[in-house]
Symmetry: C2
Subunit: 334 residues, 2 copies
DNA sequence: CTGAAAGCGCTTACAG
DNA sequence: CTGAAAGCGCTTACAG
């Protein structure tokens, strides 16, 4: 026999019907041990593996979870993807990954492709400005990190987390701070900014706070950072908080190019705690997102067949490293 | 009607048989225009989408390509994944991505999962020391970057590319060079090292060359870099070439920690040209891998149903940036 | 050129 | 407890 073995082959070899083979496969206990053994023997002798397509066709259920991220080359999302894969594996599901390039149409296409493949569910880190057709779908969708339509959302508490950074900089003594915000068309960007701003004003109304918006990437951080730091020393902030590590690392680069010492002349804080945050010079103070827990919860929720419009926010933690410190005394004398 | 529409529904509405619907779907030209129109109308009226599982079951062909990488959080591989997705999309295929965590067993499981899903083919960036069961498979496999078993391989010419770095450092005047190699259990690691070493000895037999092996990651580069640079100034190399950008960036960090100026006191070159290479301080001189072309060729080869043991090596290009320069004169006087 | 029918590999009521 | 049969949604020889 050269073909891939099927239930029929197993049934033949075990001397039972295909129905019985299927029952053994399903782990039904109502099969006589004797038959069960024969079947199991045949299965291993033949090296039989169930055809998942056929099974899916019959049951319209699969064990594949689809994950769509805005950009797989963004280290935060690739870390999220790794976490999601682990989480899926824990539940004996596999992960199908797609990247939307922050394009709503591509995102829509990926969703359709996943539906065609009757995935078990879709975890979606929405593209900016994602504004989906509100179709009632027959598979569960959970949004992760960024909300998609009114599907349930798993994310950190962005505002609270951004507040942690505000507290940290304030306690160090900074009173002239710049905030590099994320895109205003993302919920995460908006919430982090609001959280930061409102915490700052709670702390002290007299803090000087400048806000700039950009994309979440390196280039954006570098550009904004450069513009900020090229101001005359007495106008420059003593600390920069960014809405992403990538922005912060870009700003770090700008500081270096301009010749500013971090953290003695300028403090910089990021957000996300990507792997790289701990490798730049100096190591970046940032907010750690618990990606494993976030992904894990998203998978659980999916498998529970939620259909509500829930929202679960986890807490993030501040990680203090070398890029933040007290402001220089009399720094304008520089 | 509330169910998802099937060929049957389309056939009914169009007043034809399901066979005819299927033929229209397949684009067969031997269908009378009149019928074809009726069918197409019914399709859009119903919002019909073919069930890919059923189709796959019948034809045992899908339009999914499986990609397995050793570690999706490694920026080089995530870039490769993005390239592969683009390449697959160009051929109207989708990509299923899995990460093996450099574990041969996990890799094997992913392969099985893909086979169960009757993917169109598998692109495999093999785990270190991958040593597969030589089963004859019924789907094509192409190895990318790192060879898997004796399946066809698409990669750059590692040795030649490493030679480019050797040339560059030599021309700058470096005569005391350290090489941070990749893992000896990867083909890429070995070939890059051999290419570098042999080019150096071709250039000048009297060059002092130290070689260290590590993993391809940041930490490894930082550790080896630190050890290297903590030697007395007259024993230190004037240039470090690394087998990956991550290693080079780690070494860069070590240099910073120790207080060595790059490139005036030490040149550092990487390999791969990940996005970050252009963002560290100073920007990293490196070798650019044409990931789009590599992935594109891998997809093509897969769809051509190759089964040979071919090997295609593309050329990589040297990208000179700020991290390399001529060695300091009389540097031991420091 | 088109329809009726078989079959891809499973699962699951339905009998017994 | 187990077998025979129907059916998931398609495609494709086979007739006509």
């Amino acid at each position: 026999m050269d073909r891939i073995p099927t239930v029929k082959d197993v049934a033949m070899r075990a001397g039972v019907s295909v129905g019985t083979v299927s029952r053994v496969l399903a782990g039904e206990l109502a099969v006589k041990p004797a038959l069960r053994n024969q079947v199991n023997e045949a299965i291993s002798a033949l090296g039989y593996r169930p055809n998942v397509m056929a099974r899916a066709l019959r049951t319209s259920k699969t064990d594949v979870i689809g994950l769509i991220v805005p950009d797989i080359t963004n280290p935060f999302f690739s870390q999220m993807a790794a976490s999601a894969e682990r989480a899926a594996a824990k539940h004996r599901h596999s992960l199908m990954l797609a990247s939307s390039h922050n394009d709503r149409e591509v995102e829509q296409n990926h969703i359709s492709a996943f539906l065609d493949r009757s995935v078990r569910g879709i975890i979606l880190v929405a593209a900016n400005l994602s504004c989906p057709s509100q179709v009632k779908l027959n598979v569960p969708i959970v949004s992760l990190d960024r909300r998609y339509a009114d599907f349930p959302l798993i994310s950190i508490n962005h505002a609270e987390a951004a507040g942690l950074v505000a507290d940290h900089l304030y306690e160090l003594g900074h009173r002239k701070i710049a905030y590099i915000a994320g895109p205003t068309d993302t919920e995460a960007g908006r919430k982090r900014r609001e959280g930061f701003v409102s915490r700052i004003s709670e702390l002290d109304e007299n803090i000087e706070l400048e806000i700039f918006s950009g994309r979440f990437d390196y280039e954006s951080g570098e550009m904004i950072g450069r513009r900020l730091l090229l101001q005359p020393p007495d106008k420059r902030p003593t600390a920069i908080a960014a809405a992403s590590d990538q922005q912060a690392i870009g700003a770090l680069r700008a500081a270096r190019d301009i010749g500013l010492e971090v953290p003695s002349e300028l403090s910089i804080a990021g957000f996300d705690d990507i792997q790289l945050a701990n490798l730049v010079v100096p190591r970046l103070t940032t907010v750690r997102q618990p990606t494993d827990q976030l992904a894990s919860r998203a998978v659980e929720l999916l498998l529970e067949n939620v259909d509500g419009t829930g929202e679960e926010a986890m807490s993030a933690t501040l990680v203090v490293r070398g890029s933040t410190g007290p402001p220089m005394l009399g720094r304008s004398a520089r």
